[in-house]
């Protein structure tokens, strides 16, 4: 089938051809002509006119032609339902309808500026709507950070930012959660600099806020204290050698472990364990 509409497409007149090709008629031919020729050419070429006032495939109330196509052809697809408000928001200058509408509009307006040939523009538009569809179908929940651990910390940090606004003096939830996280990941190489880089947080800012809620200790001091406490706990289990304990508590080597342990407790791990046995 042939479909015809006005020239210089931006949103709906690119999104509708995409929808027609992907869900209604893969063989469809799309034709762009000047506004005042759409109806006469439609008749002449036996094409379906769309996205122009006075035809069946057009806007109804707040809804754009993309919405009408979905309804008319009874297409049931959850990803498409997520895309429709984005298209509608971008097409009707109601960017508040969907968070992605303003970005789609900016990219579409720019593409239209860069590609003056409507058919070339349609080709680019297909890439964009295929991408939006893949996002809607598979990636809507995905965040840009790639490590699950990063995601956890990111959530904590977001909580931290929120609480910052209406802050009281009691220990905020983010601090408690960060405590738990450190506890769970004590055997991995946690560095504030790395974490803040991955999280796009200013390291000095986080470390400043950190000490307020972690016994006036810096991030590094707190981590070391946690590791030593964990080491002491593990020492009560005779099955672990001191080498294993150093490894399990995130120390890179035995001598580092011994040095830090002595700083915190005044004795070496070996002596500490010996005293433990006496008791």
């Amino acid at each position: 089938m042939k479909w015809i509409t006005r020239e210089h497409p931006k949103i709906d007149r690119l999104a509708c051809p995409w929808l027609i090709w992907r869900f209604i008629d893969p063989q469809a031919t799309i034709i762009y002509v000047p506004f005042n020729e759409v109806l006469s050419k439609a008749e002449q070429l036996n094409a379906i006119p769309f996205d122009i006032p006075g035809v069946e495939y057009t806007h109804y109330g707040d809804e754009c032609t993309f919405d009408y196509l979905i309804k008319k052809h009874n297409i049931k697809d959850a990803a498409l339902n997520a895309m429709a408000p984005i298209v509608r928001g971008a097409d009707t200058d109601h960017h508040e309808i969907a968070a992605q509408a303003a970005g789609l509009w900016a990219i579409s307006a720019g593409l239209a500026y860069n590609h003056k040939d409507d058919y070339e523009l349609l080709e680019k538009g297909m890439l964009i709507y295929d991408a939006l569809y893949s996002w809607a179908k598979h990636l809507q929940k995905e965040k840009h950070t790639q490590q699950p651990f990063e995601n956890l910390l990111l959530n904590v940090f977001n909580k931290f930012l929120k609480e910052k606004k209406g802050t009281g003096k009691k220990i905020p939830a983010w601090a408690q959660e960060l405590k738990d996280l450190i506890q769970d990941h004590i055997d991995t190489n946690l560095s504030l600099k790395e974490l803040s880089k991955d999280l796009s947080i200013n390291p000095s800012y986080l470390s400043r806020e950190f000490s307020k809620h972690f016994d006036n200790l810096s991030f590094g001091e707190y981590i070391r204290k946690q590791r030593i406490e964990k080491a002491i706990e593990l020492m009560t289990t005779p099955a672990y050698s001191l080498t294993e304990i150093a490894y399990l508590t995130g120390f890179s080597d035995q001598s580092h472990f011994t040095r830090i342990f002595r700083q915190h407790t005044g004795v070496s791990p070996f002596e500490y364990r010996k005293n433990l046995k006496k008791k």
Partner: protein
């Protein structure tokens, strides 16, 4: 110059090549390799590593690599500065930074899903940033109403 970074680019590792080629080095060549091989390959090929922890061209605080290139090369194009905020928002999950960030993220994530070849992804991504740039520079005041006969 050669520029090298981690494979499977989404936002910053597409936006930076666009920025470099358009404003810093027209003849730049871009290389994507597995994360753990970036520094080794950079040395071998005499390439500049970017958008990876430990390189000069990387994130600083809440600023992404795109921001760093703008600062380092003292670029002052206002359209570019606007795009920087959008890129930062999309790249660091801070969609509140710019209204366009969430849309850029959705489209970029979807493109990366559809095009598994990094260089194919880059070629398409460059078109997206060319579009954002044109929008910012020339088409920003335009309001889209569907029946304006143009």
């Amino acid at each position: 110059m050669k520029w090298i970074t981690r494979e499977h680019p989404k936002i910053d590792r597409i936006a930076c090549p666009w920025l470099i080629r358009k404003f810093v080095d027209k003849d730049a060549e871009f290389i994507y390799v597995p994360k753990e091989r970036v520094f080794e390959k950079a040395k071998e090929l005499g390439a500049i590593p970017y958008d990876i922890a430990g390189a000069e061209y990387t994130h600083y605080g809440d600023q992404c690599t795109f921001d760093y290139i703008i600062k380092k090369h003292a670029l002052t194009d206002t359209a570019l500065l606007q795009i920087a905020t959008i890129v930062r928002g999309a790249d660091t999950d801070r969609f509140d930074l710019a209204p366009q960030a969430a849309g850029l993220w959705a489209i970029s994530a979807g493109l990366s899903y559809n095009y598994k070849d990094d260089h194919e992804m880059l070629a398409i991504g460059i078109k997206v940033y060319d579009a954002l740039y044109s929008w910012s520079k020339y088409a920003q005041t335009e309001v889209h109403t569907w029946n304006n006969k143009t």
